[in-house]
């Protein structure tokens, strides 16, 4: 589904990604771990199409398409979704209004009819309940005045409504208490299916207790230096990153 080959990228002239390779197949969940500043967030931002990154070499193919040539909205309509580490507040714009616009933009791309407000509300309400989101959410502006946990839950709610083929989760577990973490994990697991793939950036093993990854990667200094199964995450939790870095340097 997603094939990243030899990706090099700079931010403000500084090289962050230095030849990154990654293959993600439909149905797989990949966890990307690594020390601070290794390029994890940069990777998902580049995949989602954020400005300010200069790709100097390499390619990204998604469902046979050249992902890097597409503007962010086209990527989203083709099924790529980024759950933000710091979801943005948009004052005065209703949560459901934004979500409905997104939903219908994606349906339009697929040649499906637009869904009206009442039907859409039914869809959203069911998923809100699943995510333990308060009904007052329907009357509030996008992320405005939300707690950190509410913002993250809103990201996962959006993901469940939009049902992306490829979900990119940028430190979705950070800043969550254990109850919120469980709910968020439950949302992520709900989307797992043979058609959907996920790339989760995380610092901590604890999310992986609830969302079992198929593959765990260590990203350091702009490259994936080690990959393994979920045991690798446990080992990283125990021993830190130094031994992986040493192994890679050897």
């Amino acid at each position: 589904m997603l094939s990243i080959k030899n990706l090099h990228a700079r931010v403000e002239g500084r090289e962050i990604l230095k030849g990154l390779d990654l293959e993600v197949k439909a149905g797989e969940v990949h966890a990307i771990m690594g020390p601070n500043g290794s390029g994890k967030s940069t990777l998902v931002h580049i995949l989602a199409g954020r400005d300010g990154y200069e790709v100097t070499a390499g390619s990204v193919t998604y469902l046979g398409m050249d992902l890097l040539s597409m503007p962010p909205e086209e990527r989203a309509r083709a099924g790529v979704f980024l759950a933000f580490q710091y979801p943005v507040e948009i004052p005065g714009v209703n949560n459901v209004y934004l979500l409905k616009a997104a939903y219908n933009a994606i349906r339009k791309q697929r040649g499906e009819p637009q869904m009206d407000a009442m039907d859409f509300l039914t869809v959203v309400k069911a998923k809100m309940q699943f995510m333990g989101i308060d009904p007052s959410f329907l009357n509030r502006a996008v992320n405005e005045g939300f707690s950190g946990g509410e913002k993250k839950r809103n990201e996962i709610l959006q993901m469940l409504v939009l049902e992306p083929r490829l979900a990119l989760l940028d430190e979705t577990d950070s800043g969550l208490d254990i109850d919120a973490l469980k709910i968020v994990a439950q949302g992520i697991n709900k989307l797992r299916s043979p058609e959907h793939a996920m790339v989760m950036v995380t610092h901590y093993q604890r999310l992986l207790d609830y969302v079992q990854p198929d593959v765990v990667h260590v990203l350091a200094d702009g490259r994936i230096i080690k990959s393994g199964d979920k045991q690798l995450a446990l080992e990283l939790e125990r021993r830190g990153y130094d031994w992986v870095l040493a192994e890679a340097a050897a």
């Binding site: 400005d51 989203a76 979704f81 948009i90 004052p91 209004y97 791309q109």
Partner: protein
């Protein structure tokens, strides 16, 4: 500058969609202003003596006045002798009795503006007093209003049919000597709207007027007077667009509102005069005096405005809170795009006891636009327990535009509470990217973010007007997205 900001810049280059000129011959007097011109206007309109006297007083006063310079505006000097002060469609002699008799070209003009007069009037239940240049050409729903005892007619007609009301109220809120532009208007005003809602009557429909400037070099001097007697209610909508042309056109309107005891007046404006082109050439100069007088106890006056047009906007819809417990409100969205300059705000003058005022101002600056909020909250010594809340937000959409805030407060009563909040924010790359990463394209995302910013004002507009305002804002800030 990031690519997304460049996109915003591009969006801002949207061109004025209502730029066209209707080919109708005008009966226009030669440019220039003197006592003879003032007399000529009065004669053309067959006015009673008191009107001529009032105009002449204003004219004489005006010759002694100086154009105000205090606003944060820059424009070349206006040559008042180069302006023609009267223009009327030639068909005036046999004025139309119904829409069927209206010049089809005029109707076409309204169609282009998205104002299909007949349909709109029928569908929306709106009575439309359409002003084309200086003379009103069509009025609808007059009978239904007459049944309720409401008078809604062109100002010139009110002068003929209800001179006693005109004489009693004209200039009672904005005196002929008030300020340079209002005084000029008093001397030469051509026409406008007159509304009288008698005691205890709730006006059965929204009242609406569409103004339109058309003849070249013709200053527009509209005069509107709205009176709500004891316990009456009226909601009045004003909207306007103008054809594209190069000369700067002066517009100096006056609106006076009078609310007696327990009366309420809601005055909503969507203003879309030609703003000039991308380089700042042309556009309307809009110097407007709007003032409401809460004359009676428990009265209420609300101004809601969406200002997207004009090269220069100088406008401060105000409320004199004379009656005890009276309420004044001002909700405003002002856009300054390209080289537009807006200096707008309000004055809330608390005179009576327990008077309340609310000010919500949203300024949007784009391109090289300069947007200034200028507001005065004045609490007089006798205004026990006066309350004011002011919220003043600015949204910047480019690196070259400007937002300025000039709030003035004069409080002479220790029991008064006056609150002021102000924010300035830039439409952020983060917000745009967030929307785009959800599948929403840049143009829709900008509209969504801007509409969200303006929501507190839009919700004060009557429903169909709110939709129109939102559309207008989208058109104003829209370009061809590449």
């Amino acid at each position: 500058m990031t690519a997304e900001n460049q996109n915003v810049e591009k969006l801002m280059r949207g061109e004025y969609r209502h730029g066209f000129v209707t080919d109708i011959e005008s009966d226009t007097v030669a440019p220039g202003l003197n006592e003879d011109v003032v007399r000529l206007i009065s004669v053309k309109k067959n006015e009673p003596q008191f009107m001529l006297d009032w105009r002449l007083k204003a004219y004489r006063r005006w010759t002694e006045m100086q154009e105000p310079q205090w606003a944060h505006l820059q424009y070349p000097p206006i040559d008042y002798q180069a302006i023609s002060y009267y223009s009327a469609p030639k068909s005036k002699a046999n004025a139309p009795k119904s829409l069927a008799e209206v010049d089809p070209k005029l109707l076409e003009t309204y169609e282009k503006l998205g104002v299909p007069l007949h349909e709109r009037a029928k569908l929306a239940g709106v009575a439309v007093d359409a002003v084309f240049d200086s003379v009103s050409v069509a009025t609808t729903f007059r009978n239904k209003l007459a049944e309720a005892g409401v008078i809604f007619c062109p100002f010139s007609e009110a002068v003929q049919q209800h001179p006693e009301l005109v004489e009693k109220y004209l200039g009672s809120v904005v005196p002929y000597s008030d300020n340079f532009f209002a005084t000029l208007n008093s001397a030469v005003f051509s026409d406008g709207s007159f509304v009288f809602v008698p005691s205890g009557v709730r006006c059965p429909m929204e009242l609406s007027t569409y103004f339109r400037i058309n003849a070249a070099n013709t200053g527009q001097f509209e005069r509107t007077l709205i009176i709500a007697e004891e316990g009456a209610y009226v909601s009045y909508l004003e909207g306007c667009t103008a054809p594209m042309r190069d000369e700067n056109q002066l517009h100096a309107a006056v609106v006076e509102l009078v609310a007696l005891e327990n009366a309420q007046i809601k005055y909503s404006t969507v203003q879309n005069w030609y703003p000039g082109d991308e380089r700042g050439v042309g556009g309307i100069y809009n110097f407007v005096t709007k003032r409401g007088d809460c004359r009676g106890a428990n009265s209420r006056i609300s101004w809601t405005q969406v200002e997207t047009g004009s090269a220069i906007t100088w406008k401060y819809p105000s409320v004199l809170l004379k009656g005890d417990n009276s309420i004044g409100e001002f909700y405003s969205v002002a856009v300054a795009n390209h080289y537009q300059q807006a200096d707008t705000g309000t004055k809330m003058i608390h005179i009576g006891r327990n008077t309340k005022s609310t000010i919500v101002s949203k300024g949007i600056s784009a391109g090289h636009g300069q947007n200034s909020y200028r507001g005065l909250v004045k609490v007089l010594a006798g205004a026990e327990n006066a309350r004011n809340y002011t919220q003043c937000d600015s949204l910047l959409m480019s690196g070259l535009c400007g937002a300025h805030t000039f709030p003035y407060m004069e409080v002479k009563n220790p029991t008064a509470k006056v609150e002021h909040e102000a924010t300035t924010s830039k439409i952020s790359d983060d917000q745009l990217f967030y929307c785009r990463s959800r599948g929403i394209d840049t143009e829709d995302a900008v509209n969504m973010i801007v509409s969200g910013f303006c929501k507190d004002v839009f919700k004060e507009l009557p429903m169909e007007f709110a939709v129109e305002a939102q559309r207008l804002l989208a058109v104003t800030l829209e370009g061809a997205v590449g």
